[in-house]
């Protein structure tokens, strides 16, 4: 067990598993994925600063280990719901980065035809059922989706729901969890709740927003087994989540993990000032950067050297630039698209 500093005010006990020793090949693949996601996010921010990406842009930088560890622990036929900080999940799920970037650019070739933007990425074909913009609002959807996975004919698929620490103070969170807990008693709610506790709901820290800052304890109230883990280490996340997911698959009962992580960037790219936290705090967390940690481990194992690190970064950048080129070259949505996708049966529109 090690103690991990949560933030200036509070401390949390974190279970630090012995490194389960995933294959070096797998770890190398995760490293590649994390580097790619970070390059993508850095480019998204540059595009935002250049006015190519509009609206709200929430970057995942710093939290990569969570997405990589969780997605590494589930199957392709499992489904995912997420909040608005959602780029990493679709990218790791295998969605074409060009279509994701084009969505940020508001282009016709975007995953949602330019109608959703950064906060509402979808790739239903790959089981990604959306990013949602109202904090906590997607929790009930995920619980209902999980129920559906057991409604027909058993099966053992699970529904993963990513949420932030901020979502845990909303009514929707508590209502959804109570239902999930109840349905879980009948084996009808294979829901995997992944809290990404990045220490702040926008600019308000966990101790300033939650009467009991040990957030995972809330799951106890709904009879949902839960764990807390280091969210800066993909191997830890993977190990904890894999065992949790196995249990959910077997039992049809919900399970939750609180990953302790950190976003280096502001809440949204438009936030210029961050009066709520000290630069030193960001520096401290950067010491535990998931990509750097993984890189060290791989170097140690002899799987990475300077040349390979550079090559992986170059390859990530090449893919990101390809996505940008695609997005830039893509057409704006046709004006007629304004009225499509409002209803399933377009003939039903107002006469």
């Amino acid at each position: 067990m090690t103690r991990v500093r949560v933030n200036g005010d509070g401390q949390a006990m974190v279970r630090k598993v012995e490194h389960p020793g995933v294959d070096t090949d797998v770890l190398l693949e995760w490293y590649r994925s994390m580097v790619f996601v970070r390059h993508f996010e850095e480019q998204a921010e540059r595009s935002f600063r250049r006015g190519k990406v509009g609206g709200y842009l929430h970057l995942y930088i710093g939290q990569e280990a969570v997405a990589v560890g969780v997605l590494g622990a589930i199957r392709d036929d499992d489904i995912i719901f997420a909040s608005y900080r959602d780029h990493a999940y679709v990218l790791l799920r295998g969605t074409d980065p060009g279509a994701v970037m084009a969505e940020l650019y508001g282009k016709a070739t975007g995953v949602c035809k330019g109608k959703g933007g950064s906060m509402h990425l979808f790739d239903v074909q790959r089981g990604f059922y959306g990013g949602y913009g109202v904090v906590g609002g997607h929790l009930p959807l995920a619980a209902g989706a999980a129920y559906t996975l057991r409604y027909d004919h058993g099966g053992d698929r699970v529904c993963v729901c990513f949420l932030g620490d901020g979502a845990m103070n909303t009514g929707a969170f508590h209502e959804a969890l109570n239902l999930a807990g109840l349905w879980g008693h009948d084996g009808l709610c294979p829901l995997v709740l992944v809290v990404e506790n990045n220490q702040y709901g926008m600019g308000t820290s966990v101790p300033r927003s939650s009467a009991v800052p040990a957030l995972a304890s809330r799951f106890d109230a709904y009879d949902i087994p839960n764990e807390v883990c280091d969210g800066m280490d993909p191997e830890v996340v993977y190990d904890v989540v894999r065992r949790g997911v196995d249990e959910v698959r077997r039992t049809g009962r919900p399970w939750a993990v609180e990953t302790l992580t950190y976003r280096y960037a502001a809440h949204g790219a438009a936030d210029l000032l961050q009066p709520y936290r000290a630069k030193t705090e960001v520096q401290e967390w950067r010491q535990r950067d998931p990509i750097a940690q993984t890189e060290q481990r791989l170097r140690h194992a002899g799987a990475l050297d300077d040349a390979k690190v550079e090559a992986i970064a170059a390859e990530a950048e090449r893919r990101v630039q390809e996505a940008v080129t695609f997005a830039e070259a893509s057409p704006e949505p046709a004006p007629g698209e304004l009225y499509t996708d409002v209803y399933g049966d377009e003939r039903q529109r107002e006469r």
């Binding site: 959306g130 209902g144 929707a172």
Partner: protein
């Protein structure tokens, strides 16, 4: 044609649709063991079991949100709200999720879901249990809003709602559940966006929906005794809104009165009036008049409650002003 109550028309339609499609399930507060506050789902738990007839805690945002997730994954949940007043707790789910998911997903996901229950006032339920909410939900693209006034339309519209591919706000009324009427035996649907002409007349067009249809018809019968013949239009759905039928009628009668339960400001009547002015202004011989609920929270005292709502006398008075 058999005669059914509005309640039995709803219930038998639920049974037919659940027998027809295993993806249809029911969810709501006290709909199973208790049988439903207005007994619309009585006996259905025994028939279909707890997996398809789900008793929920008092948790509208939770179970309506869960219904959205179920619908996105291919089920067809029919959710009962004990009254539409309680839907406000789940407004974020209905408005921000159900109505918009198809659009912001670029058509990748849809929400084929029905939310049904009594709308508007009952008897002395006071302010928090008496609100009529059609203009609220009518505002949001992505939702359908249906308000059947008869047992036959309750069945036809509910069937359309359950078989459709989008979220439907299905507005019933406590005073309608016991209403009897003929309901065709065959498997029919009533399409959305098609108003019904409930009575034919040449002198004035009366436009209404839901519970107020019946007081409007009673007023029309009395007016006919005095020589004023009314065209009575039952909108049946408020989104889509069938303005074509209204405008066609107004072009013949040159006069119109619009009747609704909810308060007049920002309401359905105002929307219908705007449509008439936009499309048939030159055909009008008199200003269009509306008869709405009074612009107050619903009072408890029976005498005040009656004053706050539209009634036959108010409708007749409005028509007399219009045809004068």
């Amino acid at each position: 044609m058999p005669e059914l109550t509005y309640r039995d028309a709803l219930k038998s339609t639920l049974v037919q649709e659940m027998d027809r499609d295993p993806r249809v399930l029911l969810m709501g507060e006290d709909i199973g063991v208790y049988g439903g506050t207005f007994l619309v789902t009585e006996g259905l738990l025994a028939r279909y079991g707890p997996k398809r007839v789900i008793d929920t805690p008092i948790s509208e945002a939770g179970f309506i949100g869960c219904g959205i997730g179920m619908a996105m994954l291919g089920l067809r949940p029919v959710i009962e709200v004990m009254t539409w007043n309680f839907s406000l707790v789940a407004a974020d789910q209905i408005i921000q999720n159900a109505a918009k998911i198809r659009y912001f997903s670029g058509g990748q996901a849809g929400v084929p879901m029905v939310i049904r229950g009594p709308n508007g006032a009952g008897v002395q339920l006071s302010a928090q249990h008496s609100q009529a909410l059609e203009s609220l939900y009518g505002y949001f693209p992505g939702l359908f809003v249906a308000a059947p006034a008869t047992p036959a339309d309750a069945r036809g519209l509910l069937r359309t709602a359950i078989r459709g591919s989008d979220p439907v706000i299905f507005l019933e009324n406590a005073s309608l559940y016991g209403l009897r009427g003929e309901v065709p035996d065959e498997e029919y649907t009533v399409p959305f966006g098609q108003a019904a002409v409930a009575r034919h007349g040449r002198d004035v067009t009366l436009v209404t929906h839901g519970r107020t249809l019946h007081m409007t018809l009673a007023a029309a019968a009395q007016l006919a005794a005095g020589g004023v013949e009314s065209d009575v239009i039952d909108l049946r759905t408020l989104r889509p809104l069938d303005m074509a039928t209204v405008v066609e009628s107004v072009r013949r009668t040159h006069r119109a009165v619009v009747i609704e339960d909810q308060g007049g400001l920002y309401g359905v009547a105002g929307e219908v009036m705007a449509g008439i002015y936009e499309r048939a202004f030159d055909d009008l011989d008199a200003p269009v008049v509306r008869v709405s609920g009074e612009d107050v929270p619903m009072p408890y005292a029976r005498t005040l409650e009656v004053l706050a709502q539209p009634n036959e006398a108010k409708i007749m008075e409005a028509v007399r002003r219009t045809v004068a």
